[in-house]
């Protein structure tokens, strides 16, 4: 199929599409977001053009061209790079696009109010299924209809059948289309393109025009069979009539209102977990009685500074939650030995060894440079020859020995600094830091895939909560969410005061109320700043500057409350939240919809003589501005 693919050219694409079901070869991409492309064969003169469906994952939030260029350039200059970052070509790069020839696809089904599209092979087997993150599949279905001969199943109005070129149905259809003289009429396709290219108003105008064209084609023409009529009715209903009518209100506010979130509940912060509360949870052997209760209390109010030092060791998985007092004593002894053994490994390097060990020397140089630039305004780390800076360096260097492949990455010193400040003990701080790193490891990995995924997920969440803002960002070349990079890399360390960041981190470490809660906090902040972000047609540079300058100005307690409210909105929302629930580690609700098997239209003996169906049977046809703008979406250039 790869070679064949060279003869194809793109004729349609839509972004923001999550792969929901896939053949085993592409299972690893399930729940990834990507782009759907329809290709047509380039060969002219052929009566029948062939079409191919492709789904390609977004592997990055930045321009995909740049990304591919990067692989290319890296391969040619590999020797120059001492560290491994970015120099490993992704072995999946060639094989990850899901490509299916339309010869194989026999039917497709529109579900969840146009937000899900499933392709079948004609024997009730699902070939692949997609969730439309922004908007719905109407434009795609319309495009398919212009290229392929498609009829609707009699039994299920949402199930579309693709006719083979040699099937009697197709032959009949072909004749009927010829009779209608619109076979080579590009108006349908042109106006579908209009949706992509033109303004909202322009597109509406185009809809109106096409509706007229199709209607006038129908005028005075007797259609030879019912399928044709059915098919045309669908086209008209979906692409003209209903859109013009149903889009008018959403045009005014400019927001897709395909679904409504439940009302947001107000939450308040509680008092921090006190020493008394903590002690009351410890039994006679020093075991915590109700860990969930403790975690919930910490989520609701944080930890009182008087017991923070002890509680963080649990939150950061240094002490097991179920451990007894004596087990912890024994653990500390073992961990202390282990730490100093690792520290001795690098401390005992001779100068000559270091010179012969470039990878180590480079890591050491990075650590030394950054330690000197970490929280130096805090009294604890201030001044020349500060002993605490030395400890900071020793811990980071020992971590390099502990996890040499990861090494030292900028941002790590930010994460360690408050921990050491609190622990005042090198060994405890090290193991707590290890626990923190285990939680955020993917932020620092060589290919930066973790950061890219987080930025993408942030946009998905924002789009769910505030589609207008999400759409604005896409339209203003900010759909990649890069301006939030610093927030996510070091969990707002650079944005908050020392006390605030410690409170924030301990809240996040509880894992309540869901995973990736920091993304919801980010959504809350963006929503809070939405007017400022959208004023004066701010573009990427202005938004980046604005977000960078929020440092030191965030009311993090308020944002946690708002984020908690957003969490409950998503959690209480219906199946439409299925695209965002996996990001938060929540179970998907609408799985039943995915399991429903295709009702094979071929079983029906009277498929070609179906009666007239009411035009309004196609539900919820909407083309929102989101999906139009999403064309230029996340993949757009920064500048």
């Amino acid at each position: 199929m790869e070679d064949e693919f060279d003869d194809y050219q793109e004729c349609f694409s839509q972004e923001g599409i999550l792969l929901k079901e896939a053949p085993p070869s592409h299972e690893t991409y399930i729940d990834s977001i990507g782009i759907i492309i329809i290709h047509e064969s380039k060969k002219d003169g052929e009566d029948l053009k062939k079409f191919m469906l492709e789904w390609k994952p977004n592997d990055i939030t930045i321009d995909s061209d740049v990304q591919y260029q990067e692989w290319a350039v890296v391969n040619t200059v590999q020797k120059r790079y001492r560290t491994l970052s970015g120099t490993i070509p992704d072995p999946h790069v060639k094989f990850r696009c899901l490509k299916i020839n339309f010869d194989i696809i026999k039917s497709f089904k529109v579900q969840n109010k146009g937000r899900q599209l499933t392709f079948y092979d004609g024997s009730s087997e699902v070939l692949c299924s997609f969730l439309f993150q922004c908007g719905n599949c109407d434009v795609l279905v319309a495009a398919l209809k212009t290229h392929l001969r498609i009829g609707t199943s009699k039994r299920d109005r949402q199930l579309y059948v693709i006719y083979d070129s040699d099937s009697p149905e197709y032959q009949q259809l072909n004749k009927s289309f010829a009779a209608l003289n619109i076979k080579h009429d590009h108006s349908l396709w042109d106006f579908v393109k209009n949706i992509k290219d033109n303004s909202y108003e322009g597109s509406l105008g185009a809809f109106a025009k096409v509706t007229n064209i199709v209607f006038s084609s129908l005028d005075g023409t007797r259609y030879p069979d019912e399928i044709t009529k059915d098919d045309l009715n669908n086209s008209i209903t979906e692409l003209g009539d209903e859109i013009v009518h149903s889009m008018a209100p959403s045009l005014e506010d400019g927001v897709s209102s395909a679904f409504q979130l439940p009302p947001r509940k107000e939450f308040v912060r509680c008092n921090p977990l006190t020493e008394e509360q903590w002690d009351s949870q410890l039994n006679s052997s020093g075991q915590l009685e109700d860990v969930d209760d403790i975690k919930m209390s910490i989520f609701k109010g944080g930890v009182h500074p008087s017991i923070r030092k002890e509680v963080w060791k649990f939150l950061l998985d240094y002490y097991p939650w179920s451990s007894t007092h004596s087990e912890r004593q024994a653990l500390v002894k073992v961990k202390r030995d282990e730490y100093y053994r690792m520290k001795l490994q690098w401390k005992s390097f001779s100068k000559q060894q270091e010179n012969n060990f470039l990878d180590y020397a480079q890591r050491k140089s990075l650590v030394e440079k950054d330690v000197a630039r970490t929280d130096r305004t805090l009294e604890f780390y201030a001044g020349d020859n500060n002993i605490n800076l030395q400890t900071l360096k020793d811990i980071l260097m020992t971590y390099v020995m502990y996890n040499f492949d990861l090494g030292y990455v900028q941002g790590m010193s930010d994460l360690l600094s408050p921990i050491l400040w609190l622990m005042l003990d090198e060994c405890d701080a090290f193991w707590c830091f290890v626990g923190f790193m285990d939680k955020v490891m993917s932020n620092f990995e060589i290919d930066q895939a973790g950061m890219k995924e987080q930025l993408t997920n942030l946009h998905v969440l924002l789009n769910f909560v505030d589609p207008k803002l999400a759409n604005y960002l896409v339209e203003h070349e900010c759909g990649n969410m890069f301006f939030c990079f610093r927030w996510l890399l070091v969990w707002f360390k650079r944005e908050l005061s020392q006390e605030d960041v410690m409170r924030f981190w301990e809240v996040l470490w509880t894992g309540y109320p869901c995973q990736n809660f920091h993304l919801l906090v980010s959504v809350a902040i963006l929503e809070h700043e939405r007017n400022a972000l959208m004023e004066e047609e701010r573009g990427f540079t202005e938004i980046l500057k604005y977000i960078n300058e929020l440092s030191g100005k965030l009311d993090i307690s308020l944002m946690i409350c708002k984020a908690e409210g957003i969490f409950h909105q998503i959690n209480d929302s219906d199946y439409l939240s299925d695209s965002v629930r996996p990001i938060l580690g929540l179970p998907v609700i609408g799985t039943n919809n995915l399991d429903s098997h295709e009702q094979s239209p071929f079983e029906s003996p009277d498929i070609s003589s179906t009666g007239t169906q009411p035009c309004c049977s196609v539900e919820n046809v909407r083309i929102s501005p989101d999906e139009i703008a999403y064309e230029d979406s996340i993949g757009s250039n920064f500048l």
Partner: protein, 214 residues
């Protein structure tokens, strides 16, 4: 900002290894401040600053990125559309000097500059305030490297004591102006032999400047 004034807006990218003083150069130039204990940059930051040259005001939009190799893929998209690239090293850090070649290659690749246009690079050796014993890169080495790589502008600076910082940015703009005027001429007088003579004259004009306190 772009819309607020009629000044020519130039996008300037400062590149170089971590810890050579990219942010400090930017902050010294923009706000005439130096914070010895400032943070290392995470992500991307930028500041605007007007500069006047020969009676014309230019607005420099100065982009400062994280230097660690790891963040390459999140840094390189910002190179696109750059007018000027300041390649930076620290004179007390030989490795950072040796890596100039890598930075130049990376920038050239991602900046998407039109083939015929020469990219306006200038080389800045920062931390000229360090004591002589700590210097690892001589001015001659810098000039030699620049000559070998066809870079005509280089300067030693100190963001700490403000030496040559204004001059470095001024030099960058002047360099850009020379390339611009050359590009304009090329557009209007293609195949003009006189123009070619003029070009080679320009190339010979080096403006490498040493640190004032050397």
């Amino acid at each position: 900002m772009r819309s607020a004034s009629k000044n020519t807006l130039l996008k300037v990218v400062i590149l170089g290894d971590g810890g050579v003083g990219k942010s400090c150069l930017m902050n010294r130039f923009v706000s005439n401040q130096f914070d010895e204990h400032s943070f290392h940059t995470i992500g991307v930051e930028f500041l605007n600053k007007d500069i006047e040259i020969d009676g014309e005001t230019y607005t420099l939009q100065i982009w400062d990125t994280a230097g660690q190799e790891r963040f390459k893929s999140l840094r390189t998209p910002f190179y696109r559309g750059s007018d000027i690239c300041i390649l930076t090293y620290a004179i007390d850090d030989k490795t950072s000097f040796n890596n100039l070649e890598m930075w130049r290659t990376e920038f050239s690749y991602y900046a998407d500059v039109k083939e015929n246009n020469q990219i306006p690079f200038i080389v800045v050796g920062n931390k000229s305030d360090v004591i002589a014993e700590e210097r690892e890169v001589s001015q001659l080495e810098m000039e030699t490297w620049c000559n070998e790589n066809g870079i005509t502008s280089c300067i030693e600076t100190s963001a700490k004591n403000a030496s040559n910082v204004q001059e470095a940015f001024k030099m960058a703009v002047q360099h850009w102006l020379r390339l611009e005027s050359r590009a304009d001429k090329n557009e209007t007088d293609i195949n003009d032999t006189v123009d070619l003579t003029k070009k080679s004259g320009d190339n010979r004009m080096s403006c490498c400047v040493g640190s004032s306190d050397d």
